[in-house]
């Protein structure tokens, strides 16, 4: 199966701490974590999974046009996001729902995109520098690299001040590694030595196409090929995801140039609610990954450290409350007024927008009584 001797794993699927040549340098990053901090990791993963299940239910009930499940990828996302500092800029693809929530995006804003009410709509400046989703595969890697080039030009990293030095982290998937933009992003990042971490979630499937069709070499070696120090981790191990992300973000922030992390994980569900994984993949594979579930192993670990039943009950309730909240609010979301269509296509005044906004208003008014 996919793990190799080079794969960094700090917590085994059985919930035991792992000591290996690959993991040793990262142990200090988790040794310093308190029980409260570790429980926070778990809370994010559990609440996220409940949100994800509720969103899929809402799609099945016709309240969303589509849902993009993240079930199975919680550890990769939560660990890496907790390693990021508030001043870091995170560029997601479109499956990083938990990171959106962690950086302060209202979950209903995420759902409004899948209900057909917006194409984004949050301001990254007001949401802890969490940028908008990008649906064209891999395009965001170039935006992230450009942003990191700007950080270099402005001296926003590498000053030695850990409170202000910043980096960029960009999320993308195994399918996107075949896109030219991802390669171009790595060329530019290496060329300009940007303060940035490429965080690849290899969930093994690009809709119905296995990662073996994208690459005959382990994907973290792609980064090495561009001259970017790269590492492969067990992406279902939230401790590895946190520790390795923190080490690499620290390097990027301190001016050592870009880094590349491949997190081995698995998309337990469909690519989106529009496809049927039973048509293209084996149950045995699903079973293999179910035994490596990120939440189950971390619960075992936390229980071993003395976490109480009350804690687990409490976060389950938090998840249920969030699910109830989005279920209630989703049907209350208003459809934007038709005139708003023209509002933000351009920043500066534009005569075509003005004329067409007026033409639409006149047309709609022509149906009113008395006209």
């Amino acid at each position: 199966m996919p793990y190799t001797a080079a794969t960094v794993q700090l917590l085994s699927p059985e919930g035991k701490l792992v000591h290996s040549d690959a993991s040793e340098q990262f142990i200090p990053y988790v040794d310093k974590l308190s029980d409260d901090a570790l429980q926070e990791f778990h809370r994010h993963m559990v609440v996220m999974r409940r949100f994800d299940i509720e969103a899929a239910n809402l799609q099945r009930q016709g309240q969303l046009a589509l849902w993009v499940p993240s079930h199975g990828q919680e550890a990769a996302q939560v660990g890496s996001a907790l390693a990021a500092k508030p001043q870091d800029h995170l560029f997601p693809s479109y499956r990083e729902h938990v990171i959106a929530l962690m950086r302060g995006v209202d979950p209903i804003t995420i759902l409004s995109m899948f209900r057909g009410l917006s194409h984004g709509g949050w301001d990254p400046k007001d949401h802890s520098n969490f940028h908008l989703y990008t649906l064209v595969i891999g395009s965001q890697t170039l935006h992230a690299t450009g942003y990191a080039m700007g950080m270099n030009l402005e001296g926003r990293s590498g000053t030695g001040n850990p409170d202000t030095d910043a980096a960029v982290m960009v999320y993308f998937g195994d399918g996107s590694t075949s896109q030219g933009d991802v390669s171009e992003a790595m060329v530019f990042a290496a060329s300009y030595q940007t303060p940035q971490v490429f965080f690849l979630q290899n969930n093994h499937w690009a809709i119905s196409v296995p990662v073996s069709r994208q690459s005959r070499t382990p994907l973290y070696l792609r980064g090495e090929g561009f001259g970017i120090p790269s590492v492969q981790i067990d992406g279902n191990d939230v401790l590895a995801s946190f520790a390795v992300s923190q080490a690499n973000l620290d390097a990027a922030r301190s001016g050592e140039g870009p880094r590349f992390i491949e997190a081995l994980t698995y998309r337990m569900g469909a690519h989106t609610t529009s496809d049927d994984p039973s048509k293209y993949r084996d149950n045995s594979e699903l079973e293999f990954w179910a035994q490596r579930d990120p939440i189950t192993r971390f619960e075992t670990y936390l229980r071993g450290r003395g976490a109480s039943d009350d804690f687990f009950a409490e976060i389950a309730t938090e998840g249920d409350d969030l699910a109830a909240d989005i279920r209630k609010r989703i049907t209350e979301l208003p459809v934007p007024a038709s005139s708003t269509l023209f509002d933000h296509v351009y920043s500066d005044p534009h005569p075509v927008m003005d004329a067409q906004r007026q033409a639409l208003a006149d047309f709609e008014a022509s149906f009113e009584e008395g006209n």
Partner: protein, 325 residues
């Protein structure tokens, strides 16, 4: 007080003025540093402003545009040089799917002040992919603005206005005009960038065009005048949005309009002008609006480009046909 200079020099001076007045302005592109660009439009600018303001990039157009988007997100105003018209297409996805849409996707909280300079058009005898006129692809895309200067004066001012625009601007530079000299008034632009302009008054037929074609329209007008026909010439200058009022006013005066462009005619900027004139000046027209364009072909090998591209003779032929109605 005016100065005489080539369009390439006028662009160089316009870029220098923009770099001087706003520290957030960056130039980026292939070979724009020590070489000064393949057309020398950025000559001397890296030496003057440094390699953090005038940035030689890896050879990847999607990479140039995609990183320019990220730079704009972080507060810069990047000006990208695409080396030749036919090389815009590796960047097409980032321009049309990302750059053009990001302000709307952010519901107005993000501006995208990115300029993409594209040397375009034929008449230079170059190899394949070096003489094309791809402006219609971008005029079709909401969220972009398109400008194309025809004179050194306009080049000097319009590039600066493009850079101060808070919207993305595709800036099409008529490369066959790079080396032609004209008067530049550095005191006053005289007219806003997104305006079309009557550049020769006439009464019987209106010729409309943009970029390098404008000088050909003026030549045609001189020949026609010798034959007793009075021609009005309009320089579009802005291809998106198009400033129709001067065109419609001229159509109402002359009743005959011929639209000329180097690009293939099918689904082109000229098609849009023709359709709009027909809509807005229908009762004034004495003849259908005619188009003279590149044929609907891939741009031909250079020895045949004079056949493919509009010429003074083809324009005068269209003028005669318009007058015959």
């Amino acid at each position: 007080m005016t100065e005489t200079m080539t369009m390439a020099k006028a662009l160089n001076e316009g870029l220098r003025a923009a770099l001087s007045s706003d520290s957030k302005v960056l130039l980026m592109g292939e070979d724009i540093g020590p070489l000064g660009g393949v057309f020398r439009v950025t000559e001397g600018l890296q030496a003057e402003f440094g390699d953090k303001r005038v940035i030689d990039t890896p050879l990847a157009e999607s990479g140039i545009v995609g990183t320019a988007i990220g730079l704009a997100m972080s507060g810069f105003r990047p000006v990208c040089e695409i080396q030749f018209d036919g090389f815009i297409f590796p960047g097409f996805d980032q321009i049309t799917s990302q750059l053009a849409k990001l302000t709307a996707r952010h519901e107005g909280t993000l501006q995208m002040p990115v300029v993409i300079r594209v040397p375009y058009g034929g008449h230079i005898g170059a190899v394949e992919h070096h003489q094309e006129s791809p402006e219609a692809y971008f005029a079709h895309t909401a969220g972009l603005r398109l400008l194309s200067p025809a004179t050194p004066h306009d080049a000097y001012w319009m590039i600066q206005e493009a850079i101060t625009s808070n919207d993305p601007v595709m800036f099409f530079e008529p490369k066959s005009r790079y080396w032609q000299k004209g008067e530049v008034d550095r005191e006053s632009a005289g007219i806003a960038a997104h305006s079309s302009r009557v550049v020769r008054d006439g009464t019987e037929v209106t010729l409309v065009g943009h970029g390098a074609i404008v000088s050909m329209l003026l030549q045609a007008a001189v020949v026609a005048a010798e034959e007793g026909t009075s021609i009005e010439v309009i320089d579009l200058r802005s291809l998106s949005p198009i400033d129709y009022d001067p065109i419609v006013a001229s159509a109402q005066k002359t009743g005959r309009v011929v639209v000329v462009q180097e690009a293939p005619g099918n689904v082109s900027v000229g098609s849009e002008v023709a359709a709009t004139v027909a809509e807005r000046a229908f009762y004034s027209l004495e003849a259908p609006v005619l188009r003279v364009s590149g044929y609907d072909l891939p741009f031909p090998p250079a020895k045949l480009e004079s056949v493919y591209l509009p010429s003074v003779d083809r324009i005068l032929d269209a003028v005669d046909r318009a007058l015959a109605y």
